[in-house]
């Protein structure tokens, strides 16, 4: 210890200050410890090892043709032929190099954080190598894989948007599954009895909203634990729809009540992108608008500012004259309506009928996407797309006749990715500060 005007070694406290006001007005910046976590290099290493094993221990020869067009396309692109074994070998070595780079990065760099780009590049390379290795001699419908991913993702995205809205306003929404399922059932029911697609879609939104009403009433008015209400609602909706579907015929939805593909002229003829983005039903186009609207609304409008304020610090919102209970109630309801439309997509577009428990856990994957996306609508959508891609991968590989990768493993894949993503990669994230906490006005 010195008797000078000194501070503790390494402290961020400035040694000499000319005016205390200057020190007080500046934002507080504390010294940070750099954590060199071996988590990422280890994960990279494991996957690189898998790649090397696939390339050199279990090599598979042949020519993989990557298909970019399907028969409906005006512009036909020839499949890209790839000599499987050398390709996998080269990529595996590349993956190993990337893993080593990641290890060095963590050990040496000042921030010890691996750039997101590196992670994404690694994942994309691994997936491509895996596909080529799995197909090894045949056609891989690449565009079809992506189109399928968007299809599977659509209900997840609607569900995730509902989750983001609900949680950002401060109500934990475990009931996404129930909202999707009830939306699907209502859409099927109204579709069967009216034969009108628009009515069915509106019915789905209302159904999702009804589930939300219960969630909102119990959690906001009666202060019941939000997670418990959500879980109970899921069980309730599952039971109710299973029962009703057994009593009422909801699996012959007339064609008029279903949303068919409406290709957008010109745009839908762009190779790869056209079929991927612009050859869908109106519900999918509506989803594009919904994603933008939720992002824009949350971040740029008065509605979003108030919604976020209520989810972060309800009392502060109350003291500036915002009605916390009402804001929560209507936004949770809106969230339910959005999720309900996701259910309509399942019944009226993707599958075309209602079957019991047809959501099959999509609501929970959507919830995972909300967390993986850190409660941000755009990131949640990207997370939903990732989970959708994993499911589509499994479908495509089955369709491409890949039989030597166990089917059970492929079926597990979407959920495995969910667990890895949420538990492993997200780490400690901060959600809306008041999510899950009822606002009690004393």
């Amino acid at each position: 210890m010195s008797d000078q005007n000194s501070t503790a070694p390494g402290s961020s406290t400035p040694v000499v200050e000319t005016s205390h006001a200057a020190a007080l007005d500046a934002p507080i910046v504390l010294e940070k410890v750099i954590v060199r976590s071996p988590k990422f290099p280890i994960v990279f290493g494991v996957f690189a090892l898998l790649g090397l094993l696939a390339a050199f221990v279990f090599p598979r020869t042949g020519t993989t043709r990557i298909g970019l067009s399907d028969s409906k396309d005006a512009i036909q692109l020839d499949p890209i032929p790839i000599d499987s074994q050398p390709f996998v070998a080269v990529v595996a070595v590349l993956l190993a190099l990337l893993a080593i780079a990641a290890a060095l990065f963590v050990a040496r760099s000042a921030t010890a954080r691996i750039p997101l780009g590196l992670t994404v590049a690694f994942a994309v390379l691994f997936v491509i190598a895996f596909l080529v290795w799995a197909v090894h001699d045949g056609l891989l419908p690449f565009t079809g894989l992506l189109v399928g991913a968007l299809g599977v993702s659509t209900p997840l995205i609607f569900g995730a948007l509902g989750g983001v809205l609900s949680e950002r306003v401060g109500v934990v929404n475990v009931a996404i599954e129930g909202q999707l399922l009830f939306g699907a059932f209502a859409a099927a029911l109204i579709g069967v009895y009216t034969g009108n697609a628009a009515a069915a879609l509106i019915g789905a939104a209302v159904a999702g909203m009804l589930v939300s009403f219960v969630l909102a009433a119990f959690s906001i008015k009666y202060l019941v634990d939000q997670v418990i209400v959500g879980v109970v609602l899921n069980v309730l909706v599952t039971g109710l729809t299973t029962f009703l579907a057994g009593v009422i015929d909801v699996d012959t939805i007339p064609r008029t009540a279903r949303f068919g593909v409406v290709p957008i002229p010109l745009l839908s003829e762009i190779p790869v992108l056209g079929p991927l983005l612009f050859r869908h039903s109106l519900i999918v186009y509506f989803m594009y608008i919904a994603v933008f609207a939720v992002w824009f609304g949350l971040n740029k409008t008065r509605w979003g500012l108030r919604l976020r304020a209520v989810g972060e610090h309800p009392k502060a919102a109350d003291t500036v004259g915002i009605n916390v209970g009402r804001t929560r109630f209507w936004n949770v309801s809106l969230a339910g309506a959005i999720a309900g439309i996701g259910g309509a997509y399942l019944a009226l577009d993707a599958i075309g009928l209602f079957s019991k428990e047809m959501t099959n856990g999509a609501g929970f994957i959507a919830l995972a996407a909300v967390i993986f996306g850190r409660w941000d609508p755009v990131r949640a959508v990207l997370a939903a797309l990732l989970f959708g891609f994993a499911t589509s991968l499994q479908n495509s590989l089955s369709a491409a006749g890949v039989t030597d990768v166990p089917k059970e493993f492929l079926l597990m894949l979407p959920y495995l990715i969910t667990v890895l993503a949420v538990a492993g990669l997200v780490g400690q994230v901060r959600g809306p500060a008041a999510a899950g906490k009822p606002y009690i006005k004393s």
């Binding site: 210890m1 010195s2 008797d3 000078q4 005007n5 000194s6 501070t7 503790a8 070694p9 390494g10 402290s11 961020s12 406290t13 400035p14 200050e17 205390h20 006001a21 020190a23 007080l24 007005d25 500046a26 934002p27 507080i28 910046v29 504390l30 010294e31 940070k32 410890v33 750099i34 954590v35 609304g297 740029k300 409008t301 008065r302 509605w303 500012l305 108030r306 976020r308 304020a309 972060e312 610090h313 009392k315 502060a316 919102a317 109350d318 003291t319 500036v320 004259g321 915002i322 009605n323 400690q428 500060a433 006005k441 004393s442």
Partner: protein, 504 residues
Amino acid sequence: MKLELQGITKRFGALVANDHIDLVVEPGEIHCLLGENGAGKSTLMNVLYGLYQADEGSILLDDEVQHFSGPGDAMAAGIGMVHQHFMLIPVFTVAENVMLGHEQTKAGGLLDLAAARAKVREISGRFGFDVDPDALVGDLPVGVQQRVEIIKALSRDAQVLVFDEPTAVLTPQETDELMAIMRQLKQSGTAIVFITHKLREVREVADRITVVRLGKVVGEASPTASNPELAAMMVGRSVSLTVEKTPAKPGDAALVVRDLSVIDAQNQYVVSHVDFEVRAGEILAIAGVQGNGQTELTEALLGLQARTEGSITLDGVEIAGATPRRILDAGVGFVPEDRGEDGLVGEFTIAENLMLDRSNGAPFVRGGAVQRGALDAFAEEKVREFDIRAQGITTPVGRLSGGNQQKVVLARELSRELRLFVAAQPTRGVDVGSIEFIHKRIVATRDAGVPIIVVSTELDEVVALADRIAVMYRGGIVGIVPADTPRDVLGLMMAGENPTGAAA
């Protein structure tokens, strides 16, 4: 605008928090509402602000009766409030916080952030604040956050401004600056209600003083009244404001802390390379504005922080990294800063709370069974010794007043054989009578030869109790100085400067 409260009564069940309170605040006047914690000041202001509905009585602005069903109505009528716990959203920027609730929008509901920034700059300029409209509020020091609260109120053209215990989180210099701002507001014709229990501040700025006790107005006082006069009115009897203690007779260094750091979940050094020692029979007071690492430091001493670096030795034994159980067994007594959260179990009885940290064996537990007889005898004795006012030892602690709750914590911690006593904010939310008692007990413990650390954000308490004072700022110790160091020097140290050149 003239504010008048007539016969305001507010009941919570059987408790009468406000009992027919009358208050008049003229424009261009600073009216002090002086009273102890729990006297009903904050309840009254929450009624005024529309957060509570009064059971009886009326609120008049410029002689017109008002009916507020929520804070929105109160604000629209021209009432602004600077809350004790800031009503700011940490993840929003200053401009977003200021605009929230009365946002200006462009076409399509789009927020007009430019207008909000201009508003912040305009009001900042008027009062000489230096607040960046785009800074995130959570990153700002508390003093600046408070200015954001003031800007927020003024941006709604508040004519009546309520400051609820505004100085609790400020350094003395910041307090002086706040007083200057209040005078400036007064000049411009704003009616100001200033709620506090600090006598020094009252006498400095008040034009009129209304004293509240147990929910009732007990009278008006003149700003020229002496401290003991004001204190007697506030408490209802004469109280001694100074702590009587003889000079310390410090022994050997008992607690030696070397290069101690605490790292939080965001990987930040919330306590940064701290060195100090406490000798047997002396009180080391740790001063500083709330949130500069004091909480984490005391928790680290008790083994409650997960990530620490450095060494803590107690009587030569290393206790850094030990479990809280081992540290308690080593003879460390601890009064946590939030007794409701960390010090007591509200639903448990007084007796049960008195044995909370001794549930691992004799005399209170034998063979896994609680020895009710031993516990009850012990509890009866402690209730008498510490003057805990309650119906009996089976009263749930949650029903006691703040002062009596704190006495339960103190009784538990001081009834063991101690080698070190750590008291964090020992008198926060405690009535003046209990404060006197708690201070006496702390000094008595010191005189028994126990090394003591007292953490307090109240400079009065620090100065009254300390034999030496360590000042913390942003995780580090700025310096350790003698107890007779002038307040303004301590104030500068609380802002990170070290004019004395004292060793850190």
